[in-house]
């Protein structure tokens, strides 16, 4: 993030980092520009909410990846596997608990979903830990091998999903009370999208607070800027990194559950497919920057939704065009991390 809090006991106020505003303005400008193009206000609202929901889900999946990269210079190409595993783990809870899912009670629906998410995050977190230990640890500092080995890890994980859950797609219906739409004025907004936006905002806020208001967050941010210095000051950055890796994997699992419910069908390759978007997002945001990742995710999703409505053929390459445009403007991404 670009704002830093000065330490409490400092005599004089430490100079604050100036907030870098232009990237923040891109989003509202984009949304406003789209309004006359789309034409009708209700459609625009629907599209915008859909875009925000999708963006939040992508952000949840991408945030862990960008932090891991920022902190330890490891880009995990197998991150998508956690997304798939998270979604598939959720079926272990959601399918046997069909009764709770179909009951017309928000409480039962929510508790089934909460249980599923908790289990998914637990499993993907544990998997992340194992992944870090077995796959990533031996290849720190060797980019080429990292890419190859995490890619290999992803193949194995995808195939293991096939082994455990079988080769077929699994349908995953939404809980009863989250289905349908809410009418806001004339605009129809799917309930589930609002929930996704809410969850995304909660995750972002929690992450923001942890990173900016806690000791751990301070260490993580310091580690992103200069890992060696943090180590020299006596903190075990290795342990910190494992923690971030596990948390990032668990978030990918959460994103996987949300994404799976959004798609309503699960395939083992869903994680790998979404990784393309995730990579674009973290490149746009600036590798290693959580704030940039958040804005990048919303941008990508909004652009995808608007162009999908306005010019479906262009929508297929809209992400690439967006990435090219952003990189021409800021070659290091929206919020470049100082070290790189």
């Amino acid at each position: 993030m670009t704002t830093t809090t000065p330490t409490a006991t400092a005599d004089a106020e430490l100079p604050r980092l100036r907030l870098d505003t232009p990237p923040l303005l891109v989003l509202p400008i984009l949304a406003l520009l789209a309004l006359p193009l789309v034409g009708s206000f209700p459609t625009w609202v629907t599209l915008t909410v859909a875009g925000l929901a999708m963006g939040m889900m992508i952000f949840i999946m991408a945030s862990g990846l960008t932090l891991v990269f920022g902190l330890m210079d490891v880009l995990n190409f197998g991150h998508g596997a956690f997304v798939s595993v998270g979604a598939f783990t959720a079926t272990l809870v959601l399918l046997p608990m069909q009764g709770w899912m179909q009951a017309d009670s928000v409480l039962l629906n929510l508790s089934a979903l909460g249980l599923a998410i908790a289990l998914a995050m637990l499993v993907t977190g544990a998997l992340g830990w194992a992944f870090e230990r077995i796959i990533v640890m031996p290849v720190y500092g060797q980019h080429l091998k990292q890419i190859l080995i995490t890619m290999g890890g992803m193949i194995v994980a995808e195939q293991m999903i096939h082994v455990v859950w079988g080769p077929d797609q699994i349908p995953l219906p939404l809980p009863t009370s989250f289905r349908g739409v809410i009418l806001v004025g004339d605009a129809a907004v799917e309930k589930y999208r609002l929930i996704a936006v809410a969850v995304g905002l909660v995750v972002f806020a929690a992450m923001f607070l942890v990173l900016n208001r806690t000791k751990v967050g301070l260490l993580i941010r310091a580690g992103v800027e200069n890992g060696e210095m943090v180590e020299a000051l006596g903190y075990r950055i290795r342990r910190l990194f494992v923690g971030v890796f596990v948390a990032g994997s668990a978030l990918a699992g959460l994103g996987g559950v949300l994404w799976g419910l959004y798609k309503e069908t699960l395939t083992a390759t869903m994680g790998g497919d979404i990784m393309v978007l995730v990579f674009i997002v973290i490149i746009i945001g600036g590798l290693g920057s959580v704030g940039g990742c958040f804005i990048g995710a919303l941008l990508v999703a909004l652009v995808a939704n608007y162009t999908g409505f306005l010019a479906p053929k262009i929508a297929l390459v809209s992400n690439i065009l967006l990435m090219v445009a952003i990189l021409l403007w800021r070659p290091q991404g929206l919020y470049p991390v100082a070290k790189r």
């Binding site: 091998k145 290999g152 082994v163 393309v276 297929l316 690439i320």
Partner: protein
């Protein structure tokens, strides 16, 4: 002496490897006579094409240290270039060359743009950008169905000479009919051989040495006065061009161009697996790796089926050995080889001799 010229002075440097290579080349050269049957010939042709495809990828990954996920894109451009022109213009040699030219130009332009755009920065950045571009290209190819035939792809006729119905001589030679299929096979085989030797020439030239220097330490290479961006981009373009040619050969052989056979991410994974298992940074690895891999892909699955059937009582184990899960085992093999033999089979064989 002639052998020296032919192999550009880059000998296998291991007796077992040399024997294996000789066996593979001999088997491929005589495949139509040794292994009758459409399936065996198809396997042989696929091996030929993959040797070239993988060798061109190794030029990037093994020699220059660039990880690209867009190699299948160039492969696909080659296949679609041939496929779409032959489909719309008709089965003439003119159309073949026209399609090839268009495909080569398109590949070259794309490789140049992507290269200049993203090769300035780190390997990891390039890997992500190529992944994004390649997947967008694959989606585009399957969505523009009026033009590309969508998911079904395009089947097309080939020039008279290459059709299975065509007979060069009426008589059979060693019990094999000399028909268009055979001619196509030899077209594929000799083109593949020529391209492979060309790549061998490239990696053993001063240009190839610079690439290896960049792989080892790009900062130092830059300090010695080599413009690393230029060399990386050139390597990228060269590799893209060869991949395009490989795609064109594959399209001519299959008489079909579609997303599953050329653009899919599975093929990209196959290429990665072959390069790593065969041996990064040595083109002979491509030959050994591709031969083993394609053979495994076609015949190992039958073996796994037997194992799966035998273990049908044990639920999870039977699934593990299911023929569709062969990629699982290759993935494990892949991870293990990145750790334990980063130089792959070829490196292992060469070390055997030394120790």
């Amino acid at each position: 002496m002639m052998l020296h010229r032919l192999l550009s002075g880059d000998f296998p440097r291991s007796r077992i490897l040399a024997l294996a290579l000789l066996a593979i080349v001999a088997a491929l050269a005589l495949a139509p006579f040794l292994f009758p049957g459409a399936r065996a010939l198809n396997v042989a042709a696929t091996i030929c094409v993959f040797v070239v495809l993988v060798a061109s990828y190794d030029l990037l990954l093994g020699y220059t240290g660039i990880v690209s996920f867009a190699h299948t894109m160039f492969y696909g451009i080659g296949a679609y270039g041939i496929g779409l022109t032959l489909h719309s213009v008709g089965p003439t040699w003119g159309a073949v060359f026209m399609g090839l030219t268009i495909a080569l130009l398109l590949s070259l332009a794309l490789a140049l743009v992507i290269g200049l755009f993203s090769l300035r920065v780190k390997a990891i950045f390039y890997a992500m950008i190529t992944l994004a571009v390649a997947s967008a290209f694959a989606v585009l190819a399957s969505q523009l169905s009026d033009f590309t035939g969508g998911e079904d792809g395009r089947t097309f006729g080939v020039p008279e000479l290459l059709r299975p119905g065509f007979r060069l001589v009426e008589a059979e030679v060693f019990g094999t009919a000399i028909n268009g299929k055979l001619i196509t096979y030899y077209l594929v085989f000799f083109s593949a051989l020529a391209l492979f030797l060309l790549l061998l020439r490239v990696v053993n030239s001063p240009f190839g040495r610079v690439l290896q220097a960049i792989r080892e330490n790009d900062f130092r290479a830059e300090a010695l006065g080599y413009r690393t961006v230029v060399y990386r981009t050139l390597a990228n373009c060269l590799s893209a061009v060869v991949a395009t040619l490989a795609g064109a050969l594959m399209a001519l052989w299959l008489r079909y161009a579609g997303p599953q056979t050329t653009l899919s991410f599975t093929i990209m994974m196959d290429i990665l697996l072959i390069v790593v298992i065969g041996g990064m940074g040595t083109l002979y690895g491509a030959v050994v790796g591709a031969a083993l891999f394609i053979l495994a892909q076609n015949y190992l699955q039958a073996l796994m089926k037997q194992g799966s059937d035998a273990l049908v009582a044990v639920p999870l184990l039977a699934n593990l050995l299911h023929p569709d899960r062969w990629l699982l085992w290759l993935g494990v093999l892949f991870v293990l080889s990145v750790y334990f033999f980063p130089t792959g089979i070829v490196g292992k064989l060469r070390n055997l001799k030394r120790s």
